[in-house]
């Protein structure tokens, strides 16, 4: 293995660099100050006040003002801004005479995260605009102050995004994507290292070196990989929880053990596939395809309960799903270890599962299966 620099590169440099890439890219954490435009056809004191309020919002930043709707749409299509706020020409006259003018906000939903942020900013400003006028009217009519705010907003809401009150994208996305990338690399390297024995026609030799014991052969082959990957995995956890300050609300050992089990489970998973499908080409394809798709079907972005009912169970085929659930339970939510017990068990099962198929691998190594 050491003679092929590509392996070492894939096992050390690639995971560490990619992890750093994700952490660094989203270090800001929160999507804010989305560039937006404004179309103010009213040009009154009221509309100018609205514009100022909008600019004070953390979610958006007015980069340009447009003279009409067509210019603004053109700017969205060109990519100058991600959306715009539209104030109609009769806004202040209508508002002050109780004729209910409509403020509209146009949001480009081709860009998901900026769109959500714009919605929040635009909606808040519109609601505040209404509140401002109502408050004025009610105070003029002589309603006492506290009653005004109660009339304005009879029901108040409090939202507690548990353990991630900053709504950091980094904490949410990197903590699932980076381990998933490690899982993909572990599965690929495992498949390739065994597959290459067939491919190069050295599998018989490999068995002979291990005294014809398949357990010894696979153990000695994969154990050095495990050590390297576990070291890399723990290093990445260190970067996450210490350097970049991701939430770690549990005993650190819970996550360390989860990472060790993840690496071993992915090796077990790949070994199982290789034993089951003794064709290098097919087993490598299966591992890569599942590894790449697990970014999607394990429910990191679209939650599993929202997928088609036949897609979401697929996630539970992959070891990374259990690591993800552990990291949500333990590192993020910090709940009792008791609730995550099955996920740890599942990872252990993946480590043991190839034992059932090793006889087949042995047969295939001694009597290689050729695909022309």
């Amino acid at each position: 293995m050491a003679r092929r620099p590509i392996y070492l590169c894939m096992m050390l440099i690639v995971p560490l660099l990619s992890a750093w890439f994700f952490f660094d890219l989203m270090e800001n954490g929160v999507v804010e100050r989305t560039p937006v435009g404004i179309v103010d056809l009213d040009k009154s004191d009221l509309s100018r006040k609205l514009t100022r309020n909008l600019n004070a919002m953390q979610q958006v930043r007015i980069t340009k003002s447009y003279h009409n709707y067509a210019d603004a749409i053109d700017a969205v299509q060109r990519g100058e801004v991600y959306g715009f706020f539209f104030i109609p020409s009769d806004f202040s006259t209508k508002a002050l005479s109780n004729k209910k003018p409509t403020l509209s906000y146009y949001i480009d939903y081709a860009y998901y995260a900026p769109a959500s942020m714009q919605f929040k900013g635009f909606k808040t400003v519109s609601v505040l605009a209404n509140a401002g006028i109502v408050m004025n009217v009610l105070t003029t009519l002589g309603m006492p102050g506290e009653q005004v705010s109660a009339t304005l907003q009879p029901i108040v809401t409090h939202v507690h995004p548990l353990k991630n009150p900053w709504l950091s994208y980094n904490y949410y996305l990197s903590s699932s994507f980076v381990p998933c990338l490690i899982a993909l690399l572990v599965m690929l390297i495992t498949t390739f290292s065994i597959g290459m024995e067939w491919h190069a026609g050295t599998s018989r030799n490999w068995m002979r070196t291990a005294g014809n014991s398949i357990t010894l052969a696979t153990f000695t082959k994969l154990f050095p990989h495990s050590c390297i990957f576990i070291t890399v995995g723990l290093w990445i956890q260190y970067m996450m929880y210490v350097t970049y300050g991701f939430p770690l609300n549990c005993n650190p050992w819970n996550m360390i053990i989860a990472m060790v089990l993840l690496v071993l489970a992915c090796q077990g998973f790949a070994l199982f596939i290789v034993s089951l499908v003794p064709n290098f080409r097919y087993s490598a394809t299966i591992c890569t395809l599942l590894g790449m798709l697990s970014f999607s079907f394990c429910g990191f972005s679209l939650p599993e309960e929202a997928m088609y009912s036949w897609v979401s169970p697929l996630g539970y085929l992959m070891p990374i799903k259990y690591y993800f659930l552990i990291s949500a339970d333990q590192a993020l939510n910090g709940i009792d270890l008791f609730y995550s017990r099955y996920y740890y068990v599942a990872l252990i099962v993946y480590i043991l599962i190839p034992a059932t198929m090793l006889w087949k691998l042995k047969k295939n190594c001694i009597d290689p299966f050729y695909i022309p």
């Binding site: 060109r78 860009y111 998901y112 769109a115 009879p154 993909l184 490598a284 679209l302």
Partner: protein, 430 residues
């Protein structure tokens, strides 16, 4: 060995390279898989996973200490929203937290005992949402439901209370949201258009690297010579190959960028022909990019490992999850040399937002500039790296004819076995 000279001059050489490359593609099963099968299979799989677009009916529980008409009405309206599903009532917060830990629900709505009284007393009633943050879309759904019901009920109560002073009935100013481009506001229509473009770029890179690795395999077995490669000048070679890929990719491109959105109901607001025009510089620059990147690949198995993880990083660099305006400048600089970065942006603006080619002309021209840039670099690598490497291989074989095979065996960790007929590098793939 003399270089190939066509009697039709330079054009003839290009044509010769073109037809030979075509044959090389056709005889290589692995390359066919990357050029044709991958763009045909991967996008539908991806689309199916995300096709539900939005998180609907997220399971939540309610802790209602108010037990009043008003709180029940609030809960009924929550349940009626498309976003959440009130799965159960919990006796208290402890029970609710336990249900959340068991993943029976992902959010808790809490109504304090004085909820209704406060509202009717003329002060404000409070509702609290606790929500699991492991997946952002759940939070978004629960928040949307809460805000909508709060506003709706708020204006009803407002109307009742202020009726004696003035008719407020919902307030003075109304507001409405107009989604542009992706009118379903779903995740598939937002993410997939980017991914589709990268599927084309990455499959092209994979195939080119695979063809090159195949050539290197032949050189290793054949004393540094590739008998299937036309001996053309570097320029003619690169252009001939690129034209070949361009022709092969017409059908996969149309399928991926047009038929897939049609099947899965992603936005199709672009002009078909204009998107095709944009694809020409995109495919040329991707092919040239691939013809540079292939120098890093000597073995066919290496190809696969490299492409798998770069795909993910390229897609992120294009701004699919994390917006471009918050990307640090060095990552942005890196992104700008990747053809897919400009092409995905242009494609999304045209196909989703309905822009015309002239509106995305800066991206279109950036692709042509990249095509030129990568052509120059590919030319230099062909002359200064690859041809020198081939020469070195040939020289080495003049001294020891088995030198290259020995090295292969050494790398495979096999010191005692020399079994050249098993060393067929063509036998492999993804």
């Amino acid at each position: 060995m003399p270089e190939y000279k066509s009697k039709y001059g330079w054009i003839g050489t290009v044509a010769r390279v073109f037809s030979r490359e075509f044959k090389l593609v056709l005889r290589d099963e692995a390359v066919i898989i990357f050029f044709i099968v991958l763009p045909a299979v991967y996008p539908p799989l991806y689309s199916l996973i995300y096709n539900t677009e939005v998180a609907r009916d997220e399971p939540v529980v309610v802790v209602d200490e108010s037990r009043s008409t008003l709180s029940r009405e609030f809960i009924r309206q929550l349940d009626a929203t498309p976003d959440v599903w009130v799965k159960d009532y919990a006796a208290d917060m402890n029970q609710a937290r336990d249900m959340m830990a068991r993943k029976q629900c992902y959010g808790i709505y809490y109504f304090p005992a004085d909820f209704e009284n406060k509202v009717y007393e003329g002060s404000q009633g409070h509702v609290t949402l606790y929500c699991d943050m492991s997946v952002m879309m759940r939070y978004k759904a629960m928040l949307t439901a809460l805000t909508n019901v709060q506003m709706h009920m708020g204006s009803e109560i407002q109307g009742d209370k202020s009726a004696h002073v003035i008719d407020l009935g919902g307030g003075f100013v109304e507001s409405k949201q107009v989604p542009l481009g992706n009118t379903s506001m779903g995740i598939a229509s937002a993410v997939l258009p980017f991914i589709l473009v990268f599927v084309i770029q990455q499959s092209l890179l994979l195939g080119i690297a695979m063809l090159h690795a195949g050539g290197m395999g032949r050189r290793r077995r054949n004393k540094g010579h590739d008998h299937l490669q036309i001996k053309a000048t570097p320029g003619a070679l690169l252009i001939g190959k690129t034209l070949c890929y361009l022709v092969i990719y017409i059908i996969p491109s149309i399928f991926t960028l047009y038929i897939i959105p049609l099947i899965f109901h992603f936005p199709i607001n672009g002009n078909f022909m204009e998107i095709m025009y944009m694809l020409i510089p995109f495919l040329i620059s991707s092919a040239m990019f691939g013809l540079v990147m292939r120098v890093f690949v000597n073995n066919r198995e290496g190809v696969f490992l490299v492409i798998a993880f770069t795909s993910l990083i390229f897609v992120f660099l294009a701004g699919v999850s994390w917006p471009e305006y918050l990307t640090p400048f060095y990552w942005k600089a890196l992104a700008q040399v990747i053809p897919g970065y400009w092409a995905s942006s242009a494609y999304v603006r045209m196909q989703v937002d309905g822009a015309s080619l002239s509106q995305v002309s800066n991206m279109y021209w950036a692709l042509w500039i990249l095509a030129a840039l990568w052509f120059v670099i590919a030319y230099l690598t062909e002359v200064m790296v690859l041809r020198r490497k081939y020469k070195a291989m040939q020289l080495e074989c003049d001294i020891d004819p088995t030198a290259l095979q020995k090295r292969t065996l050494y790398q495979q960790g096999d010191d005692d076995m020399l079994n050249p007929e098993l060393l067929d590098d063509d036998e492999e793939e993804e």
